[in-house]
């Protein structure tokens, strides 16, 4: 690979780490890119999709996505696959064997760890995969490095015949910084060459590839010892020397500008001997790595004495405000600086959107007794919160169906009268939920499935999926027919209902019927995500305050446009106190879905404007 040449100063761009990865893919001559959306990695593919020279796709899950990239690499293309940390769990079946095969065209796996869990179900450290799957791991510390290292990853992949992992974290993906791109590569596309001894991983072939992989590990260890991405930055205060990588590098530099730093870019295989030499030049060595003590463990095993997770937290970011008190303590200093992040105030928890089609579902679920409800990953996970409290489990993509099946089969005598339900969105169903449904029908489970089809991947920003009928570019393509799909997976046609989730009586009727029947059933909702163009707003509503009785039924809908204006405590005829909540509707936010009007007995929720006014606005 040619060394990237810097371009002119006026080409400084202000872009995020995710966009930098996309530009690197373009400039590296990548021709196939795939992903399943997931925070914080989603924008990588969205940016790549803007380059017509690169084939891009939203794949149906991360395993499929990685396999598409693998196929493209074997066909001679440079290929990139992006996913969030938990996505690698899904893709790992392919990854663990592809590492034996290697790569023909550069094969780059960009993984974004959600350090601090801003929008994830766990905080796993993807650097483990480098060790587990024998892959080199590159760890950029900002957007410029994300650009440079992604460029480099393609060349490294081809040179050492190995998939390469670029490990990002939220603080790299979503931080914008100044990025200067370099001259694009001219990549010579190779052809597919039949080579079953290498590509067909039956035991006989795979056995022969393992020693080659071990040899590659050795080579990469040597490369790492001397690679310019792993460098020492000298400092005048040698009391502590830091070994660090990724976002933590800049936190260390910010907090301890005079300390010597061993900066890792190619962090696995680790340059153990170079770090040993560095350790000898400082009084104390501190390893600053976010999440797991991986490097620390390897350095300790090599006999290097150091401080690591014994003094630093194992969860969350190692930002300056986290580092300072830990290092002060090590130095025997009192941290007089009291670092308080934020004042103690009310929270603003995320809510379902105004007019979200899931609101009606959770309203019904919170009003049905005797339920065990297995949830899934998506916006509708918010149904676990106030005011619905209508989810009992959330684990992983697609788990609602299979966990519900297990609850059905494993329930006690006392739980026999409970209604077991699964709640899953359209995209999550296609990702890994279909298999669970087939398991339920095949093994005669008794689960009522709510398939919330809003035609998009809502939580990550409304990306297209096979339920949208549109591809990543918004072009028309197959739109999956969920009724037919569920029938094909063995659900009886009469046990499948398609309902409008804004029609509460219909929804209640379908739910009450299906939970009684002791066989698998699916209730499919059919209204679009309000964040997508498919959704059309209706004239807003308001509350007629003279008619509002303060019953608070509408608050159970959980729509954020309905606000309590006044509370009052009254004594009921039976002598008990009752708190009344009178409401109003934020007319500017309301989009007139009418769901709340279903819950209002005194008909106090009325159109905000009369028809004449609305027409007047439209004409204007």
């Amino acid at each position: 690979m040619n060394a990237p040449q810097p371009v002119q100063q006026d080409q400084r761009q202000f872009i995020s780490g995710n966009e930098a990865v996309a530009q690197a893919a373009r400039d590296a001559g990548c021709s196939v890119a795939s992903a399943y959306p997931g925070t914080p990695s989603t924008e990588i593919l969205e940016f790549i999709a803007a380059y017509p020279e690169i084939y891009t796709e939203w794949s149906i899950n991360e395993k499929v996505s990685l396999e598409v990239a693998i196929g493209a690499s074997l066909a001679g293309s440079r290929a990139l696959c992006a996913m969030k940390h938990v996505g690698v769990n899904v893709a790992s079946d392919a990854l663990m064997t592809q590492t034996l095969i290697g790569a023909v065209g550069g094969l780059v796996l960009v993984v974004a760890d959600d350090v601090g869990l801003s929008s994830s179900q766990n905080e796993q450290d993807s650097r483990y995969w480098g060790r587990f799957a024998h892959l080199p791991v590159l760890e950029p510390a900002d957007a410029q490095e994300a650009y440079e290292m992604t460029r480099l990853a393609f060349g490294l992949s081809e040179q050492y015949d190995v998939p390469v992992m670029v490990r990002l974290t939220t603080r790299i993906c979503h931080v914008k910084g100044v990025v200067v791109c370099s001259q694009p590569d001219i990549y010579q596309h190779k052809n597919f060459t039949k080579d079953p001894a290498r590509y067909v991983m039956v035991p006989g072939n795979a056995k022969k590839r393992i020693p080659l992989m071990m040899e590659r590990d050795q080579q990469l260890s040597q490369v790492s010892e001397e690679h310019p991405l792993n460098r020492i930055e000298s400092g005048s205060d040698t009391e502590i020397g830091f070994v660090t990588s990724g976002a933590a590098y800049f936190h260390v530099k910010e907090t301890y500008p005079d300390a010597p730093v061993f900066k890792l870019g190619l962090s696995h295989p680790a340059p153990i001997e170079a770090i040993r030499d560095f350790a000898a030049s400082v009084n104390r060595l501190v390893v600053v790595e976010e999440v797991e003590p991986l490097l620390e463990t390897e350095l300790r095993a090599a006999g290097i004495s150091l401080y690591g997770k014994d003094i630093l937290p194992r969860i969350g970011e190692l930002s300056p405000q986290v580092l300072t008190p830990c290092i002060d303590k090590l130095l025997g200093k009192n941290s007089d600086e009291k670092l308080i992040s934020t004042a103690e105030l009310f929270p603003r928890p995320p809510t379902l959107c105004v007019a979200c089609p899931h609101l009606g579902i959770y309203y019904c679920l919170s009003h049905i007794k005797n339920t065990i409800i297995a949830g899934d990953i998506g916006c509708y996970t918010l149904g676990a919160g106030h005011p619905w409290n209508a989810l009992d489990t959330t684990i992983s993509m697609g788990a609602s169906l299979s966990v519900a099946q297990g609850i059905d089969k494993g329930r006690s005598e006392a739980d026999q009268n409970k209604n077991v339900l699964a709640v899953i969105g359209d995209s999550t169903f296609m990702h890994m939920g279909m298999q669970g449904l087939l398991d339920i029908t095949y093994n005669k489970g008794n689960v009522t499935v709510l398939l919330l089809d809003n035609r998009a991947v809502g939580m990550t920003g409304g990306q297209n999926a096979p339920s949208s009928g549109l591809n990543i570019h918004g072009e028309a393509t197959l739109q999956v027919d969920f009724r037919k799909l569920c029938e094909a997976l063995g659900v009886k046609p009469e046990r499948i209902h398609e309902v409008n989730p804004y029609e509460l009586p219909t929804l209640f009727k379908a739910l009450r019927e299906e939970v009684k029947i002791k066989e698998p059933s699916v209730i499919i909702t059919n209204q679009p995500c309000v964040l997508t163009e498919r959704y059309s707003k209706l004239p807003p509503l308001k509350v007629d305050e003279d008619r509002c009785t303060g019953c608070s039924n509408c608050l159970d809908v959980g729509c954020p446009a309905i606000l309590v204006s006044r509370k009052e405590t009254v004594i009921k005829p039976n002598g008990r106190e009752k708190e009344l909540s009178f409401v109003n509707i934020d007319t500017a936010a309301c989009t007139g879905c009418n769901l709340c009007t279903n819950t209002c007995a005194p008909d106090a929720i009325v159109p905000a404007f009369n028809v004449g006014n609305i027409n007047a606005v439209e004409v204007k």
Binding site: F14, S118, K176, K253, T255, A343, T351, G558
Partner: protein, 216 residues
């Protein structure tokens, strides 16, 4: 009446300027932070911008850190290090005020936004967030940018108004910020550009009229 003070930060100094932009998802916090960053970028600074935005589109707290100077290392502003804050909501200003340096400029849209968890009575909204901010540690300015935006015809104009309000406090000329703001609307037509120009100007004027509750 507060007069427009030129900030102590100077161009080409080694100091890094730290600006916090805080508010709620959907208010344009991230856009405002982007405009500030683009202005600093145009002046040749190194710039980093980072957000703490769990679920930005869904009414959550959104906080954007903008840092610029000769060289910026960590993207996050440490508590006690912020030179300025643009707060789109008074309680959010209070939430982040431990991040402010002594004497920092705090510009607040004093139009409160009450979340459902407060409205239904699970939590309390602070009685007087501006009063709590006016403890003498910061230079506090506030005005009702929310109402001003609605008067201009669109509540989304709040961010252009707030940028106008802070424009005279930055270590570069307000015109640079205005250019960076209007550049975003170039492709969206003259009408929208003009509307945002008006909003920006209104913000600048509002700043020159507001009372300061406290100065350091």
């Amino acid at each position: 009446m507060m007069t427009s003070q030129k900030p102590s930060l100077e161009l080409n100094s080694d100091a890094v300027t730290n600006i916090l932009v805080v508010g709620i998802g959907g208010q344009g916090v991230m856009t405002a932070a982007d405009v500030l960053s683009q202005a600093a970028l145009a002046l040749g600074y190194d710039v980093k911008k980072t957000e703490v935005a769990g679920m930005a589109q869904r009414g959550g707290v959104v906080t954007s850190h903008v840092r610029f100077g000769k060289q910026v290392l960590s993207p996050a502003i440490r508590p006690g290090d912020a030179d300025m804050m643009i707060a789109f909501e008074p309680a959010e200003a209070l939430r982040w005020h431990t991040h402010m340096k002594s004497g920092a400029v705090v510009m607040v849209n004093d139009y409160p936004l009450i979340p459902p968890v407060v409205s239904i009575g699970l939590y309390d909204y602070p009685d007087n967030p501006l009063g709590q901010l006016a403890d003498g540690s910061v230079e506090l300015h506030h005005f009702n940018a929310g109402e001003a935006a609605i008067e201009l015809g669109d509540r989304r104009l709040v961010n252009s108004i707030m940028l106008g309000a802070i424009a005279d406090h930055l270590p570069f000329s307000p015109e640079i910020l205005e250019q960076a703001l209007l550049a975003r609307f170039q492709r969206k037509g003259e009408a929208l550009t003009e509307l945002n120009r008006r909003a920006f100007t209104l913000g600048r004027q509002a700043f020159n009229q507001v009372d300061s509750l406290a100065t350091a």
